[in-house]
Structure formats: C-alpha cells, structure tokens
C-alpha cells in the first residue's frame, strides 16, 4: 500500500463515480495505471463495494433503524468473533462493531417499522445462546452520515466574479 493508493481511495471514498481519467489527471498518473491500481485494490478487498448514500427520510419509503447494545459471554477459543458472525449473518443487521466499555457489540438494525425491529431483537438476537442482554435505541433522525450533512443549508455564497 503506497501513498498513491491512499490518494486514490481518498478520492474514491468521497466520490465513487469519479472517472479514472479524472483521477489520473489529479494525481499525474496514466489512466491505465489508475485502472490497474483500482482493480488491485478491489481484489485485495480494500475497496469492498461502491455504494450510494441515500437520505431515506426524503423518500416515500418508511424505514426504521435501531442501535442495539449487546452484552455477550465470549466463547472459549473463539472469543467474540464467533458470536459476532452469528449476529452479522442476519440480513436485517446492517453493521456490527465490537466495542470497548459498558457493552460488547453495537448492532445497527434496519426494518420497515418498529414492530419488525422489536420482533427481530426479541426472537433472533436476544435468543442467541451467548447473548446476556440487549438494549434497543431507536434512531429518531439522521443529521449526518458518512461525513455528509443531510439537508445542508450551506451553499456557495461567493460573488460570481472577484479579483
């Protein structure tokens, strides 16, 4: 992993639709080299997926998300990873983090409504053998995600021409 690769992923992380030609120009590289590097980054699993950030609150689709604090008993020999896998395999689970502090896993769950999420926690998550307890926190509003402020009121206020 060299500085050039880091620059490429830095650019792509902000705009995955930017063309290799543009990246090449910005970093003073040949287009073919940029394409090869991106391909290698994909193969190494450093670039894992190209996603689109959506402000669901502006759509007609109702979704509910919840952050669940999960306390577990780590398994002998497998530690936390085995339990984490049992949790993250569920498609309802969007993210799982191992945490320091008062609980072990932070689990992000998305569903169509509160009932669906509550049901998932009650029947699937809390019933996993090594899970001691769960605490569910529903998300009320998203202000910022992936570094992007939703409904940003800031705009280009500069004069169109200035010396």
């Amino acid at each position: 992993m060299c500085k050039t690769d880091l620059e490429i992923i830095d650019i792509l992380e902000n705009n995955s639709r930017i063309r290799p030609e543009q990246i090449a120009a910005m970093l003073d590289l040949e287009v073919a080299e940029v394409e090869n590097r991106i391909k290698a980054l994909e193969e190494e699993g450093i670039i894992t997926k190209y996603l689109t950030l959506i402000n669901w609150e502006k759509t007609c689709q109702e979704t509910v998300s919840a952050l669940i604090e999960v306390k577990v008993t780590p398994q002998r020999g497998a530690g936390f990873d085995k339990i984490a896998e049992r949790i993250y395999r569920f498609p309802e689970v969007k993210a799982v983090y191992l945490m320091s502090g008062g609980y072990d896993f932070s689990v992000l769950i998305e569903g169509n409504n509160m009932k669906e999420v509550a049901l998932f926690v009650g029947t699937k998550l809390a019933t996993i053998e090594d899970v001691q307890s769960t605490a569910t926190h529903f998300v009320l509003k998203r202000y910022k995600q992936e570094g992007v402020i939703f409904d940003d009121k800031e705009q280009d206020r500069r004069l169109v021409i200035s010396p």
């Binding site: 120009a25 004069l159 169109v160 021409i161």
Partner: protein, 395 residues
C-alpha cells in the same frame, strides 16, 4: 449639489474603476453559468474556526482591541513566522493586525511614499496595487512579466526600470493571477538588487501556503532583507477566511509604528471577532488547511491537463489557485474571448487585461471550484473552441 464632478478629488477621479466590475455585472445577468472567475476559496471557513468565533461572541468579545491587534494573535503570528521561515519579529512592535492585506498594502504605501516616488509593480498582478500607489501619491511603474518566462519576474527586468526616484518594489508570489512562484535563488538575485539600489520591498505573501512545487521562500528570510521588507500576509486564502477581512504586516518597528499611526486614525483596529477566529485558525487549523491545499493541488493538475487537452495552451501554475491560459492564437482580445465564452458556453472567466496590460491574451481561471464544476467548465470551453474553430491544437 449641482455637479458632484467638480467637487471630487482629481486623484480619485483619475483612477479607472476595476475592469472586473463591468464583467461582474455581465456575468450576474447570465443564468446557468459555471464560474471560474472567483478569486477566493470555495471552501467555507472550517467549522472549528466559526465555532470559536461564536464562542467569543457568547463570552462578550465585542470591544475594540489595541490598535496593533490582540497581543495573543500577534504572538502566534510571530511564532508561526519563526517556525516556518526562521524570521524573528517582535510581536510587540513589529507586527500589526490589519483589515485584510488590502489595508496593510495601503498603509505600507502611504507610510513610505512622498509625492512622485516610484513603485515597481510587476504585472500581471492583483488589481489594487497600482491604484493604491497612485492614491498614496506615488507613481506605479509596471514591470512586465511574460508567458515565455512563466510569468516570473527577473532581477534584470526590475533593474531596467529602476530610476533615482524608485523607492519600493511590490512582490506577490505565489501570484494572482498567473500562479507563478519564485525560487529562493531568483529571489536572492532580486534581494541583491534591492540592496544595491536601497529599495524597500513590499512582499504580499497571501498565497504562501498554496505553494505546490518547491518551498515558499519568505522574502524577509533572505540575508539582510528583513530590515528592508514589509511583509504582508493574512488568513483569507490559506484558511478560507476571505470575508473576515483579516491580515497583518510585519516589519522594522519604525515602519510598523508609522503604519500603525495611519491605521489608528482610519481603522482604529481590526474587528475583534475576526481576530479571535484567526487565533483559532493559527492554533488549531493547520491540519484542515493542509487538506484544502492538497485538494487544490489535485484540481490544479486536473485543470492544467484539461486545458491542454482541449487545446488551450496553459503553463503549469506552481501556486495560488489560478490557471492563466493563453488565448493569443484565437485572435481575440481577452475581453472579447471572455464575453463570447460567457454568452456561448456559459463559463465565466476573468479577462487577463484587468490584471495589467500584459495580461492581455490570457484569461484567469480559478480552480477554487468543485471537481464537477471544473470538469463541466473544461468540457464547455472545449466545445466552445471547437464550434468556433479556435482549438489551437486542431488548427
């Protein structure tokens, strides 16, 4: 009053309004324009700076400061200049906080010029230098830099224009509008000349941090130059703080004392709110500033490559955030070109002639714009050149 015209100062009447004004009106009336005509960062001031300013207001920092500016800010500036360039200024009497470099430039000129004194002004350059020299009673003497020399001023060009009346030389590198920078060696040659002819140098280093190739050399850091230099700098470009209007001047205590005299009677002090924000920017803003600089550098390369690909010959700017491509081969003046480009392609650029007569044949394109807008602008200009059979590469 019947006729204001008779009552106006001839000195002011003689000064032409900035050429940028006329073009500004034209651009403002056009819809759907992608503008490369903006001479300021497209970033908003970093949030931590704005937040610190809000906090200062909450704490009641709403009063005058000393004429010189907040001592804490002057100390921080002196510390930074020493860290970056090994130049030592005493924050107590060698640093003056001003309302932008614009005010500092005016103060410097007014403090040194006697009627008829000549000031050497390398052109193309920022629009205010020559008018400010005139308003201060001096005579601006233009020194023309050229594309052939990448718009770098040479000691020989300067020496040609030196007369017994020459008092000062204005330098602005990295340069607006050309993006040119000067190396330490080139500046050393100029320094020798300055010594030989006993000149003062007013060095406007507002684009200092936006140097992409090589290191910026502070003119005052050259041997024996600190004593002869009035160093001007500010927060507008590096920290995206144009609207805060905050700059500073550093120099020998005597010149700073005289500049402060004018400043105290005309301005009293720079706004405290902006001073508090600038303090935060200096203390905690380096990381974010470097990020912005890295982003400009990428865009710089994108724009230079883009222009050259569509057949608009463009030398590579080494600093600031402007490209200054040549449009000489089109046979149009830069004003004609800029107007036609605005009307037909809806891209705003600044005609080069507003930065001095030898800016003619060029347009200034700011790359302080998003990658999307830059790409769109380059595409539009490319089509424009093709439609008008102006593409210099395609013939």
């Amino acid at each position: 009053m019947k006729n204001w015209s008779d009552k106006l100062s001839p000195a002011v009447k003689d000064i032409p309004p900035s050429g940028i004004r006329k073009f500004f009106d034209l651009v403002s009336e056009t819809k759907g324009v992608v503008s490369l005509g903006v001479g300021e960062p497209d970033f908003v001031t970093p949030w931590h700076v704005r937040e610190a300013c809000i906090y200062s207001l909450e704490k009641g920092y709403t009063m005058y400061t000393s004429n010189w500016g907040l001592l804490e800010l002057r100390e921080e500036i002196a510390r930074r200049l020493y860290d970056d360039h090994m130049v030592k200024y005493n924050p107590r009497d060698e640093v003056l906080i001003t309302v932008g470099v614009s005010e500092a430039m005016d103060l410097a000129l007014r403090a040194i010029l006697a009627p008829g004194d000549e000031v050497l002004v390398p052109e193309p350059c920022y629009v205010s230098y020559s008018p400010c020299v005139s308003l201060a009673g001096g005579v601006p003497v233009n020194v023309h830099t050229t594309l052939e020399n990448d718009f770098r001023i040479t000691a020989a060009q300067i020496e040609e224009k030196i007369t017994p009346k020459t008092k000062a030389l204005i330098l602005c590198y990295p340069n607006n509008p050309t993006g040119a920078t000067l190396s330490r060696e080139e500046l050393m040659e100029i320094a020798k000349l300055v010594n030989k002819h006993d000149l003062i140098v007013i060095s406007d280093e507002i684009y200092e941090k936006l140097t992409y190739e090589g290191e910026h050399t502070c003119f005052a850091s050259l041997p024996a130059m600190q004593n002869r230099t009035i160093l001007l700098n500010g927060f507008s470009k590096a920290y995206a703080m144009t609207g805060w209007r905050l700059g500073y001047a550093c120099g020998h205590p005597e010149i700073i004392a005289h500049m402060t005299k004018i400043h105290q009677y005309t301005m009293l002090c720079a706004p405290v709110t902006a001073q508090m924000a600038a303090l935060e920017a200096l203390q905690n803003g380096t990381e974010e500033m470097l990020k912005m600089v890295a982003e400009y550098d990428r865009r710089r390369k994108l724009v230079v490559k883009g222009f050259n690909e569509i057949g608009l010959s463009c030398f590579e700017p080494k600093g600031a955030f402007y490209a200054f491509p040549s449009i000489r081969n089109t046979g149009m003046t830069s004003e004609q070109f800029a107007e036609k480009l605005l009307v037909e392609a809806k891209v705003a650029v600044v005609p080069g002639n507003v930065f001095g007569e030898n800016g003619e044949g060029h347009i200034r394109c700011s790359y302080a714009a998003s990658v999307e807008n830059l790409t769109e602008a380059i595409e539009r200009i490319g089509k424009f050149l093709k439609n008008n059979s102006l593409c210099q590469r395609c013939g």
